[in-house]
């Protein structure tokens, strides 16, 4: 079972069970996870992106070699982000990056996004875009961060055929849902995780609206109880082949570059 959506370190507004890397690894292993793609909660607010990524890489090496797969942070609104990208790929040997456009103050129709995505494709880095980290309605009052609108990707993705992209935390955005998931699914190499997919049988509906080859198992642990994603798979009651693809096969294909 590959979990494509976990985060290391401290959530800024709450202590979480699993916010120490060793504890997170122990808990995930105990729950049957064999690999976890890890971003950093520090990526949300820290300006020293280089430091964030160095700590992430080190924690993954120290606490979960072969288990934690670091997805580095990048803020394309900060100076010399291209060097941070290069370090993710070449120094830290990360297989991908995780973007937080809403926390970093840009939208996906910003010209820098096209430049960034093209560069990640050249470095053969996978990209995760976190559409949200928490329900906007329950955020800290002085830290309101609306979800990312993925609509501009409808225009961008056809121009980036080599991009390997996953939208994580898509789905339930307060009382609204992420728009355009079916249209986005048709644009190419894009995947969706299940962490914030809601509604009865939500994962089965996501599969219907996209493809069993485009859905990834992501828990958003430790912010969410891990059991949420796990039980969603049971609630979906998908055929064995589709279950297998979501739990591991699709993530493996995204990571190894296969089609």
């Amino acid at each position: 079972m590959i979990d494509v959506n976990v985060s290391l370190f401290r959530w800024p507004f709450r202590r979480l069970a699993g916010d120490e890397p060793a504890e997170l690894v122990r808990n995930l292993r105990q729950k049957g996870v064999t690999q976890a793609w890890a971003g950093s909660f520090e990526a949300l607010l820290h300006r020293d992106v280089s430091g964030v990524n160095a700590r992430l890489a080190e924690a993954c090496r120290r606490h979960g070699p072969g288990f934690l797969v670091p997805f580095g942070a990048l803020n394309p609104k900060q100076p010399d982000w291209q060097e941070d990208l290069r370090r993710c790929a070449e120094v830290h040997q990360m297989p991908g990056i995780r973007l937080h456009p809403n926390y970093h103050g840009y939208t996906l129709d910003d010209p820098v996004v096209a430049e960034l995505l093209a560069l990640t494709a050249r470095h053969k880095l996978r990209v995760e875009i976190a559409l949200a980290m928490e329900d906007e309605r329950t955020q800290y009052a002085f830290m309101r961060i609306p979800p990312v609108d993925p609509t501009p990707l409808l225009d961008l993705l056809p121009r980036l055929p080599h991009l390997r992209l996953a939208l994580i935390n898509a789905g339930y955005q307060g009382v609204h849902s992420t728009e355009h998931i079916p249209e986005l699914a048709k644009t190419g190499n894009i995947y969706f995780d299940i962490a914030r997919i809601e509604g009865i049988g939500g994962v089965a509906r996501l599969v219907e609206r996209t493809s069993p080859r485009r859905v990834l198992f992501g828990s958003h642990y430790p912010f969410f109880y891990f059991e949420s994603a796990f039980l969603k798979m049971r609630e979906a009651a998908l055929p064995e082949e589709q279950t297998r693809a979501i739990l591991e096969g699709n993530a493996r294909r995204l990571l190894t570059g296969g089609e």
């Binding site: 709450r14 105990q30 996870v33 064999t34 070699p65 072969g66 969410f224 109880y225 796990f230 039980l231």
Partner: protein, 328 residues
């Protein structure tokens, strides 16, 4: 006691078994970084891990042994042309997820502030759905206090003379839960021993007109200490929603209808005690899965599980159900 022997160790045992079953795929290291990119491996046990009723992180036998009663269910979001068909679908998912019983309220389509007729229609649909539940669901009557006399009539029609066992409040437009019109309705709830479920939310984005928070609900509850009141969603922003309930002992915290953010259930148990928490999902807008996770994933004493998952709700419902001859 029917839930003896349930412990977190059982869940962890299931988890360990799951880990062993999952196997470790073949891999190649990514140079010195020690990053493993999984390749094809023997993972034939994956499907069993999820499909076998006895396997997995939260095994079905454990869930069934908890006799889970979901205190917050809606027909909306389910397929079905009639309340009966909706109930069939609700039960199908409930069976899949180990949920034994449900409290159901509001109609096939939510319709608030739409007049007394809309309120009656929704209550009719709930009564019809409950008929098809084969004893696995109870219903509450929707109350729109804008139409106070109609609410009192509905209480008589649906609760005093009908099968419903509780009252459900949504948005008390134009006033909030602490407003005087609700006193008359609470008095009737007390006389009939009906359970009250009241929606609450604390929205950073701003509450809707007439949308109460746990603060207003706690005020109402203080005025009616004999009425059993469930605080719907516990405000959803639970760090703010739990404290107002601490000293109002006739209010219970409903876990439903918010993201499965880690720590909610632990704080509720710490601040209120497990005896004052009821599991709820808010299906079909939410899933059973994400909401069950709030309890099954929480770091709470094993003794808290059966209470939260069903015993507390059944205890609240028992007086009125016994009076009606309804077996829970």
């Amino acid at each position: 006691m029917k839930n003896q022997g349930i412990s977190r160790r059982q869940f962890l045992h299931g988890a360990s078994a799951g880990a062993a079953m999952a196997g470790v795929a073949g891999s190649r290291a990514r140079a010195s970084a020690g990053i493993v990119l999984s390749e094809a491996g023997n993972s034939s046990s994956f499907a069993q891990h999820f499909s076998s009723p006895a396997a997995g992180l939260v095994d079905m036998n454990t869930l069934r042994s908890l006799h889970v009663w979901d205190g917050h269910c809606h027909m909306e979001g389910f397929e079905g042309r009639t309340p009966g068909e909706r109930m069939e679908n609700m039960l199908r998912y409930a069976d899949r997820m180990g949920v034994e019983g449900m409290s159901v309220f509001l109609g096939m389509q939510f319709n608030f502030h739409a007049g007394a007729a809309a309120m009656r229609k929704q209550n009719d649909e709930v009564m019809e759905a409950v008929k098809h539940a084969r004893g696995r669901a109870v219903g509450y009557a929707f109350m729109d206090p804008d139409y106070l006399e109609a609410c009192l009539d509905e209480i008589n029609r649906c609760v005093r003379d009908g099968p419903l066992v509780g009252l459900k409040f949504e948005f008390d437009t134009p006033a909030l839960a602490n407003s005087p019109p609700l006193d008359r309705l609470m008095e009737r709830a007390g006389e009939l021993q009906a359970v009250v479920m009241h929606h609450t939310y604390i929205k950073t984005t701003g509450n809707m007109v007439g949308e109460s928070t746990p603060v207003e609900l706690a005020e109402l509850a203080r005025r009616h200490p004999a009425v059993r009141i469930i605080c719907g969603h516990t405000g959803a922003t639970w760090e703010l929603g739990i404290p107002p309930l601490r000293r109002v002992k006739n209010v219970y915290a409903d876990l439903s209808g918010s993201d499965p953010t880690s720590g909610f259930t632990e704080m509720a148990v710490r601040e209120l005690g497990a005896e004052r928490i009821t599991f709820g999902s808010d299906i079909g807008g939410r899933s059973f899965a994400s909401q069950l996770a709030k309890v099954m994933g929480a770091d709470i004493p094993p003794s808290a599980l059966p209470l939260i998952m069903g015993e507390n709700l059944r205890r609240l419902l028992r007086p009125i159900c016994q009076a009606k001859g309804v077996q829970l």
